[in-house]
Symmetry: C2
Subunit: 585 residues, 2 copies
């Protein structure tokens, strides 16, 4: 027993009793012959007080104490003369009678405070020290709490948590697999799962009815800021259900989480078609915390000798409320912003709906006040608003207007992190056409069922077929997605065919699934949530890295353990492998 209480536990009611605490030295200060030490553990901070005249031996130990030393202290609890209202333990302190240093500490490479002086790289290298900081640890405590709340909810709903294998089989579809050479099966490889998709479908064929798992998944992709080679999914599947059953079940889970974890009541989630999301928000993950919908002004603005508009496929606009007083400088900055390659607009036209009822636009010489009034009406703008127009190819301008909308939302403070607006985006296209490879790809995955009413289009206009697929979007973040699945082996074969698989390839890769469908497969559907994203949303963070205990950097490296790393020659030999570096080819 290293302690009788934790550093977050003692209150006035403990006054007079002898206690032992253990923890880290947060700080030490000397004042009028007394030394004060703030002792920290996971549960809180307690003030220890040493009377420097009380014991020479104790005083000796005290002199050597530095930040982050691990100590054990015993003494009586007493009321503090100057209370600290910021600490739950702020009414008391320990009058230390005995002190033991359990572990000394070198000076940490950065300060272990809520706001650290350490940069990203050094904090990642010493992640175990970074994790000592309250905000970092709190993110991971939140993660643990959320995982437990999710499991309890799904457990109560009779979902069976089932572990699916990590060593599976490489498939050419989807992202790049991580592979694992097999020693016992020469020249062969396992793959790490990008998701347990086929296994959860097989569990439905097996009659498991309701499956879930919080599970690690793996993708060997070039990493962007918000990607990790290993990430965690809340993976679910249900049998004998239709799309609505899945949406209702997981809307229930999501509401439960908001209530249980954040004590927030969220309203019923609206459903929005993919087509509407793209037209109104320029995004398949619309942030509906604010409106500022995209308006199609193509018909309104064309035909006035302004060739930029006249030649464009599409002219769209958003209306930023109360921004008519934007300065030239602000407007220029916005114009530059939309011209960046990742936004891709050629330029921007603005229309100020001045407070006095007049209009001022960047294209005044082409349009009369009356014409401009029509723009304002089409946008539902009122005096004081600012209308921003982009023109060009329709799909890319919708994207650009979607991005501009978010930028304006940010500038206007419309994206409060403590407001949560979930919605379901539904009716995604089944297939995407890829110009480069001249073939269709599954937008969700090859197991997604087309809408029954669109099946006839599979032969004539596959690009127009809608899927029974859905995404849960919260505050512009795609939190999860899923679909109703194909459960008929012939329709599944036809899908593989459409996706350019030969019969042999389909058989080699997914023969077991199509075979399973021949023995009585129930209708089924499922969903997977990105757990890392969900936690970071709840934590009010922008990156998933902050909710992962030991994340990897953008090169897929764990800089703390220095991995990946070369392996021994005998390991390579046992695996029948030879490394052939690119330089040597």
């Amino acid at each position: 027993m290293y302690r009788t209480h934790t550093c977050g536990e003692l209150r006035l009611e403990h006054q007079g009793i002898e206690v032992t605490l253990a923890g880290w030295v947060q700080r030490k200060r000397e004042l009028g012959g007394m030394t004060f030490v703030d002792l920290r553990d996971r549960y809180g901070i307690t003030q220890l007080v040493f009377d420097e005249k009380a014991s020479a031996e104790l005083n000796d130990k005290l002199k050597k104490l530095g930040r982050e030393f691990v100590i054990q202290a015993t003494g009586h609890v007493r009321e503090r003369s100057s209370k600290n209202d910021h600490l739950p333990t702020g009414d008391i302190e320990m009058d230390v009678a005995d002190l033991k240093v359990l572990s000394p500490s070198a000076v940490p490479p950065f300060t272990i405070e809520d706001e650290s002086d350490g940069g990203d790289d050094i904090r990642m290298k010493y992640r175990y020290l970074d994790l000592r900081r309250n905000p970092v640890r709190e993110n991971l405590v939140l993660r643990s709490k959320m995982a437990h709340a999710i499991r309890s909810y799904l457990n109560d709903q009779e979902f069976i948590e089932t572990e699916t294998p990590v060593l599976i089989k490489s498939t050419p579809e989807g992202a790049r697999d991580f592979v694992v050479p097999s020693r016992m099966n020469e020249g062969q490889f396992y793959a790490l799962p990008q998701s347990p998709q086929v296994f959860k479908q097989l569990l439905m064929v097996a009659g498991f009815d309701r499956y879930y798992q919080i599970v690690k998944c793996f993708r060997d992709e070039d990493l962007r800021a918000d990607r990790q080679p290993e990430f965690t999914q809340i993976d679910c599947e249900m049998a004998f259900v239709e799309q609505e059953d899945v949406l209702n079940t997981f809307e229930g889970l999501t509401k439960h989480l908001f209530k249980a974890i954040k004590n927030v009541d969220v309203a019923d989630f609206p459903r929005m078609s993919y087509a509407d999301a793209m037209i109104n928000y320029g995004s398949d993950k619309p942030d509906i915390r604010f409106d500022m919908l995209i308006k199609d002004l193509t018909d309104v603005v064309k035909g006035h000798q302004f060739s930029v508009f006249d030649d464009a496929e599409f002219i769209g606009a958003i209306c930023a409320e109360g921004c008519a007083d934007y300065t030239r400088k602000q407007l220029d900055a916005l114009t530059n912003w939309v011209k960046r390659p990742q936004i891709g607009a050629k330029g921007m036209v603005y229309l100020k709906c001045n407070a006095d009822g007049t209009f001022k636009s960047s294209v005044d010489k082409f349009y009369s006040e009356d014409e401009l009034q029509k723009w304002a009406s089409a946008c539902g703008a009122k005096a004081g608003d600012l209308i921003l127009l982009l023109s060009g190819e329709k799909a890319s301008m919708l994207d650009a207007l979607g991005a501009l909308r978010l930028e304006m939302g940010k500038q206007l403070g419309l994206m409060d992190k403590n407001t949560f607006k979930p919605l379901w985006v539904v009716d995604f296209p089944l297939l995407e056409w890829d110009e480069e490879t001249q073939r269709h790809y599954a937008m969700h995955h090859p197991f997604t069922a087309p809408k029954p009413e669109d099946i006839a289009l599979l032969d004539t206009a596959p690009g127009k077929v809608r899927a029974n697929a859905y995404d849960l979007v919260i505050n512009g973040v795609e939190i999860g997605g899923g679909s109703v699945r194909i459960y008929d082996s012939e329709l599944q074969s036809r899908m593989f065919d459409l996706l350019g698989f030969t019969k042999e390839e389909a058989q080699a890769q997914f023969g077991f699934l199509m075979s399973a469908f021949k023995y009585g497969a129930p209708p089924h559907a499922g969903i997977a949530f990105g757990f890392d994203r969900l936690v970071s949303l709840f934590a009010g963070l922008d990156s998933i890295r902050d909710v992962i205990a030991f994340p990897k950097n953008n090169a897929g490296r764990d800089v703390m353990i220095d991995s990946p790393s070369p392996i021994a020659q005998n390991q390579l030999d046992e695996l029948n492998l030879k490394v052939v570096l690119k330089e040597k080819k």
Copy 2:
């Protein structure tokens, strides 16, 4: 909505209402113009009744129905004339008005019944059909329930569930690693974790205080019956604790599980030293459901011109109660059993303590009745008992007697699967000497702390140093193990030194851990339970394979998905790898 109720739900109280059920056709029989179908889902079986004269259309569908067809049926619930007491739904049946075939089924390759006619291989190939069988599914439902009970318990005790990385770093210590080539870091590899050992220790350094995770671990070992390349651990670690704190916490968890899952109260777990376990049970995982302790008869039996005993280092015996009437044939069979290579005895001596008070042994010509009486007394044998003696090298004879004890326990029915006798085995040796490589290996792992009172022996007699290490053993099965950890970088260096690491190797492999210990590491200790084994113990099964949804066979293959398998040349090229098959060397 494919159903209004499940197949396990309807009772007399539902009589008269119209319901829709969906599920699999378990069986179909015709009787007096009526057709009866047992409809099965995960929740149970409900009898559907079709009046063959009611509807020609319905009757037509009915004729085509085969086993394992997935159907949806609608009709009214009515009381059954002949009730079935074996079914919870046995009081009612559905009078079917409408029937829809959702999925037909080919004839399954084996019967989907509690006792199947399918052999192991075919059931593994069609695992999704095997999982439909009640006993198989129930094992996995048990697993899910146990996981949730474990998490709830640890959650209540303020353990933080923290995910540790799966893509880590290969280390030469321990079993063989599975490795994962990195595409982004040429010629370098990740390894899959054999356990999250160092990460959980780093979480203690980080102040997490109480960590747990139910986590997949990986070992590339040649597979025995009860091993899988991927397996699941309940992995835990605590800071500011001593051995007793860990034992108490996880004894509490284990008792909770027995109570919550099996409604069994188990007594406090005895503690037994490794040395006592080896001497009395010939095993470091003693099955204490029965006594039959090993007795050392070396001093009692030596010196009677029986050279086999006189030349032996050790003569030990067990006393099998009430077996004095074992026949010649039974004794010969036992003798052959102990002479098998895996047991390794040269022969066996027996002593029958006959019911009439006389003795009969296989070495009567060397020993008088008085001498044999001494054996009996030394073994605490009474009239009617059978004493079995083995002689030879001490350590291997203790092993052999331990195995013989279990064999006799089995023959005497002393190993009831519904009796649970957990215990803690403690005070394991810190190190094992390996003759072949002429070096010490860590018995537990290199991070285990020696007992403080034995530290002085590290230099003089390292083989005698005991560790603060412990195993939880239940019914002769090692369920879990753990240890108090080293938290001092110097002692850790010394351990690596003892284990034959050079300074450079230790630094390269574990530098980050020794570095972490320099910044204030708390005393900590932990444990890991084999979750697969724990579930199979609770399920009354001998193999872990039956509690894993998609297990691999002894060659590490998943025969259902046919994995591992070759990968495409472009995948190998991207990974800078070339396969060099053994034959081609």
